[in-house]
């Protein structure tokens, strides 16, 4: 049975698979950088005393967490252009999906981490005459950031895997490329196994990086 699979044939399609890898990485990295920024802003909104900031953040988080990524991707690529009368490039749409989606989950990670820093830290800062922003920036945020790293790693891995759903909006990422090749050359086992290994390689690399960062920051 094993003999029927032609693994050497994979080499032939490697350039196309690598193109897919490129888009998967591009969308993951750009999407998550923007997602982290969104998460920081809306996470701080969730801990803010400002009712408007709190309300906006809560609505954003609930809408995104309450709908599937697949639906978000299809909505942004096929429905949004009809509203704004502007056709989005599928890669741009993909980055938006990953950024907006991960941003909502990261916001909750930020909120949880900031909330977990003892109230006494804020009081100590304020009693020294630091204002709210200074206390946040110099005392609360650095401590919260350390605690965010393990759940952030989790979210990054989930979002990287979610990029595979972007194949439905025609982003030429890993699994989209894989399906294209497999459909034309009837080598599903070889191609899809290769694609799976690529995803695993990305997430394992990320895990290693995070473990290193954690050790550096001495997270307990």
């Amino acid at each position: 049975m094993i003999g029927r699979f032609d693994w050497t044939g994979v080499i032939e399609f490697l350039p196309e698979i690598l193109k897919g890898l490129y888009y998967t990485l591009l969308i993951s990295i750009v999407g998550l950088v923007i997602g982290f920024a969104l998460g920081a802003v809306f996470g701080l909104g969730r801990v803010s005393k400002n009712k408007f900031a709190y309300a906006i953040s809560t609505v954003y988080i609930e809408i995104i967490r309450g709908t599937p990524v697949l639906v978000q991707a299809i909505w942004i690529f096929y429905a949004l252009p009809l509203i704004i009368h502007y056709t989005l490039d599928s890669v741009v749409a993909g980055i938006i999906v990953i950024a907006v989606n991960s941003g909502a989950y990261i916001a909750e990670i930020v909120r949880g981490a900031v909330d977990s820093i003892a109230k006494g830290q804020m009081e100590a800062g304020r009693s020294l005459g630091l204002n709210q922003r200074q206390t946040m920036q110099h005392i609360i945020w650095p401590q919260a950031l350390k605690r965010m790293i393990p759940p952030l790693g989790n979210q990054f891995i989930i979002s990287i895997k979610d990029t595979s759903l972007l194949s439905v909006i025609l982003v030429p990422e890993l699994i989209f490329q894989g399906r294209l090749i497999a459909a034309n050359h009837f080598n599903a086992v070889e191609i899809y196994t290769t694609v799976a290994i690529f995803y695993l390689a990305i997430t394992l690399t990320l895990s290693l990086i995070l473990r290193f960062v954690e050790r550096r920051l001495n997270v307990q």
């Binding site: 006494g120 304020r126 009693s127 630091l130 350390k146």
Partner: protein
């Protein structure tokens, strides 16, 4: 220096402070004693607006705390606070803990801030730990760092919220010693404490609080030897 008039504080329906009146003079050391739940800590926390008063007035060195135009951050730079749980910044070294506020608020450059911090750590007897992190210190050492951190802002007065209550008994002395030294140097101090020996020896005046009011106040000798109020008597009988 501190004037408190008819200070009331409610948490929801719970009335914690029911009309506190008191005047604290420059260089005075006032010890606040009383059973738990009597409102001692809340009273202290109202003095630097960690709690917002419900009604009444507090005047700190001429600044009216009930006035929304008062810059609370500026007032706080003049009023140091030491907490029961120390609340040192765990991500910063001892000397960085002490340098932070002078750098950010007083705009001292790094060199000046460090010089000031090291001098204060010397004063509280802990300069050899300047580059350690708070978690590497004993409770007594942490609390002395917290006092140095407060002093680095050169406050006009200091508030102490049960500064020795979280310490192992053998570490209480070293913290009280630093506080005693401060008192002798003429620092205005308000100390919520269960250390009756300290109140008696160092305090210029003792306030006994119970049920959200100042039940009795006076000279420490008089309060401890001949309390007038029945509740003061009952409290002192239980703890002495």
């Amino acid at each position: 220096m501190i004037h408190v008039e008819n200070l009331c504080k409610k948490f929801g329906d719970l009335e914690v402070l029911k009309g506190i009146n008191c005047h604290i003079h420059p260089q005075e050391v006032v010890c606040v004693i009383g059973p738990s739940g009597s409102g001692k800590s809340t009273f202290l926390r109202c003095l630097n607006m960690l709690e917002t008063m419900t009604s009444g007035e507090i005047v700190i060195d001429g600044d009216h705390l009930s006035d929304p135009k008062t810059d609370i951050n500026a007032v706080r730079t003049e009023v140091g606070m030491v907490f029961q749980q120390f609340n040192l910044f765990p991500h910063k070294s001892v000397v960085e803990n002490v340098m932070l506020a002078p750098k950010l608020v007083r705009k001292l450059d790094k060199g000046e801030a460090r010089k000031r911090a090291l001098a204060l750590l010397e004063k509280v007897g802990i300069s050899e730990k300047a580059d350690s992190y708070p978690e590497q210190l004993s409770g007594g050492q942490q609390q002395r760092v917290a006092i140095a951190r407060s002093l680095a802002m050169e406050p006009k007065m200091m508030l102490f919220d049960e500064p020795t209550s979280a310490l192992d008994p053998e570490l209480v002395g070293e913290v009280l010693e630093v506080m005693k030294q401060l008192a002798h140097e003429g620092m205005t101090m308000v100390v919520v404490t269960h250390e009756m020996g300290f109140a008696r020896e160092v305090g210029d005046r003792v306030l006994f609080m119970d049920g959200g009011i100042i039940e009795e106040e006076g000279d420490p000798e008089q309060i401890f030897k001949a309390p007038k109020s029945e509740r003061t008597k009952a409290f002192l009988n239980k703890i002495l």
